[in-house]
Structure formats: C-alpha cells, structure tokens
Amino acid sequence: MLTATGKLVESFCIQLGLYAATFAGALKRLTSRPWHFRMLLQQAEEVGVQSLPVVMLTALFTGMVLALQSYIVFHRFAAESLTGLVVSMSVVRELGPVLVGLMVAGRVGASFAAELGTMRVTEQIDALWTLSTDPVRYLILPRLIAVTLMMPLLVVVADFIGIYGGYAISVHVLDQNPAVYIENTTIYMELSDFYSGLVKAAFFGMLIGLIGCTEGFNCKGGAEGVGTATTRAVVVSCMSILISDYFLTAWMFG
C-alpha cells in the first residue's frame, strides 16, 4: 500500500517537474532569437480559427439553457427580470472561460499531445535537433504563445454569443421585455467582470498549452505511449482548469 502511494507521489512529482521544466525552457527562449513567427501564425490559426465553431456552439447553448433555468427559478419569486443579469454574469465571469477552456483542452490540448508525441516516437524531434533547430523553440514556444493569446479572444466571442443565446430565449421564447433584459444586463455589470474572465482564459490557455506540449514532448513507448499522452493531456488540462478556476476566482473576487 505504502509502496503504491509512494510511487504515485513520485510520478506526480516527476510530472510536475516536467511541466515546470517545459515552462522554464519556453520562458528562457522567449527573450532571445530566433522567433518562429510562421509557426506562431499557423498555431494561432489552428487554435483560434479552427476552434471557433465548437466554441460558438457551446456558448450559444450554454446561454440558452442558463436563461431557461434561471427564468424557471426566478419565476417562483417573481424576479424574472434578473434573468439577463444572471446569464451575463455567469457567462462572462465563469462559464465562458471554463467551458471554452474545457473545449479547447479537448480539441487543442489533445492535438498538441498527439502531434508532438508522434513526432517524439518517430524521432522527428531528434531530427530537428540534428538539423540544428531547437525543438523547444520551434515546437513548444509557438504553441504555448498561440493558445495563451487565442483563449481570451475565443472567450470574447463566447461571451457575446452566450449572452445573445440567453437574450434570444428570454425575449423570443419566454416573452421577457428586451429593453429590461438589456438594461439589467448592462447596468449591474462592471468592466472588471469582463476582464476577470479574460485573465482566467489566458491562464487556462497557458495551462492547456503547457500540459499538452509537455505530455507529447516527453512521450515514450510507441503508439500506446501517444494514446496515453493524449488522454493524460486532456484529463490533466480539464482538472487543472477546474481546480485553478476556484483559486483564481477566490484571488480575484475573494
């Protein structure tokens, strides 16, 4: 029992060390040339543009269902006019960054781990080194920057679409007054609510990039290893997003 626990702790510490080493390696290279701008743009397109449909659909339905649920509850004590505020606050402060984070972790984190993992097991990463190209600078740094920058942009899109989803259901299905809905939404919301979501988004983006790249880059053991790395990238990213969300919220609003 003790041995099993010890091994678990050891493997956890090793994994943490790998994440820290990847982060430190990327940070060290951030301030020196060469910068691979083409790779950065490619990754930004892959992370940002390609994730848009999934993010938009998720945000739309989240806003819609949130409006429906809030209305049902508020109707019990005749406070239906607060629906707009609850939808907007929830989406902007919490659900936008978290749900977009989870979607991007599933799509992008998995893709980073699978791509780099395959490159590792087929010796393509070693080949980069022998062609006098630093693999961390060429593969990890552009991905890490791209996902950290793109996440807040995706969350801005998700915020607007989520709020619109709530508006559409409240106004067109639940017959609420559109002017009251918009007024309640805008009057109580502060710019800091919006910013806090974006800070969370950037942090989650960095986590997704760091975990996906580290898992793939340190992958071992052929096809099975790539599978394990990909699964772990998604699971660890999702868990990290949910756990760090609490601490970020406590830090920003506590």
């Binding site: 395959t118 490159m119 087929t122 010796e123 393509q124 070693d126 080949a127 080194w129 022998t130 062609l131 006098s132 190209t133 630093d134 071992k220 053991g221």
Partner: protein
Amino acid sequence: MSSEIPRISIRGLSKRFDDKIILDGADLDIMPGKSTTVIGMSGTGKSVLIKCVLGLLKPDSGEILIDGENWLELKEHEQLQRMQRVGMLFQGGALFDSLSVWENVSFALLRRGLSKTKAKERAIEVLEWVGLYDIEDKMPAELSGGMAKRVGLARTICHKPDIVFFDEPTTGLDPIMSDVINKLIVRLHKDSGTTILSITHDMKSASMISDHIALLCHGRIHMQIPANELDSNQDPMLRQFVEGKAEGPINCSIWGKQIEEAIQR
C-alpha cells in the same frame, strides 16, 4: 590506425537507465575522412552511443571530443551551432509529416535563411543525386519506405555536413534498396571525404560502407579493426557475431533483453 588526431574521439562513455548499464566505458576513435561502423547485437546500446554523441542523450560519464572539443561541456546553443556541420540519417527516416519533400530536404537551409526558391533548387539537386525525380512536392506519407529513406539521406547531406551519422541505414529495406543506399553512402564518402559513423547489424552493409569496423559488446567497444580484416580476424566474439551463432562468448539472451526493457522504461 594512423597517428592522425581523431575527428571524433569517444572516451570512457557510460550510460545507464535506472539500474541497467547500457554503456560501460566505451572508447572509440573515428579518423578524419574515414567511415567507421559500429556493429553489435540489437539492444547492445549502439543507438544509445550515437545519441550520446549527437547530444540527444546525456551520458553519465565520459568524454566526446569532436575536432578536439569536448561536446559534453558545450552549452545547448553552442551544441546547436555545431550541429550545422553534422548530418544524421535516422532509422525510420524521421521525415517531418507536415512538410513537403523539398521542405524536408532543405529544412536546415531554410532555417539558416536561404530563400525558398534557392532552397527548393538545392533540394531538387540533392534529390536527383539520390535518384529521386519529380517528387519534391509530394508529402512524406505518399512515399514508399525506400523513397523515404533516400529523402532522409538527401536531407542529411543537403546542407553539406562534414560529419555524417547513419543509424541502421538499411534496416527494413529490401536487398536491392539496401544496395542502393549502401552505394549512395559509399559515393558520398568518396566524393566529399565526409567522416562517417554508422551503426548497423547488417554485415553486408557494414563491410561495404566502412573503412573500419568496431564491435560493441557488453557496453564496451570490444575491438576496432580495418574493414578488410573482417573475414580474417579470428576473435571469438567477432566470429560469433559475423557468423550469426547463438552460442559463444556474447551472452545474447540476457544482455539485449535487459537493455530493451531499460530503454522502454
């Protein structure tokens, strides 16, 4: 061996994975402009040796001197800079899936800032040298094993390195394609006087491409001889390996298995 200073000198190289000793004080000299091949059973640490020399694995102890400079003492960016003089052909080709054939071949030149037009011209020239025509715009997934190996060879030599490493250059190829690759390596060696370090367990390939042959056994270089003495040398370990006998001084059942397991871990 002559009294020249070796181009590559490996001294007391040791590497272990967990408690498994893979290299146990290996010594090897590769003379300038010579082709040396390290032979040995699968799993004896040949790949570990070459990866240590290339800086892909960090040895536990020992020295790797290239042109008198200890590569293990170099900083990462200094090592990367020195890699511009080096070429490496990986066992599986290790072509970049996301890049076309010509981008793969001229990868090192593109990274050094050569224009796309000139890099593509150079790639086509080298592809023709390895006997491949009109494939520059294909993707690696569209190539056969033999073609991928030749594209890998083209990428290895495109930036005109003066030291080239070959990791099992003929493994997984049919006899005809193996012969093609061997002849290309011989041609490269003769045409440009490149210093070559290869690892293989294909004896036909070893005797064809090498000036010297070294036998790696039980973590050490057991012997290093001129390639033309391969058939006449009566060392029991060498004879067991060359003649492919299970019985003999090389304890094949335990050693190879231990290393494979250790590397996997």
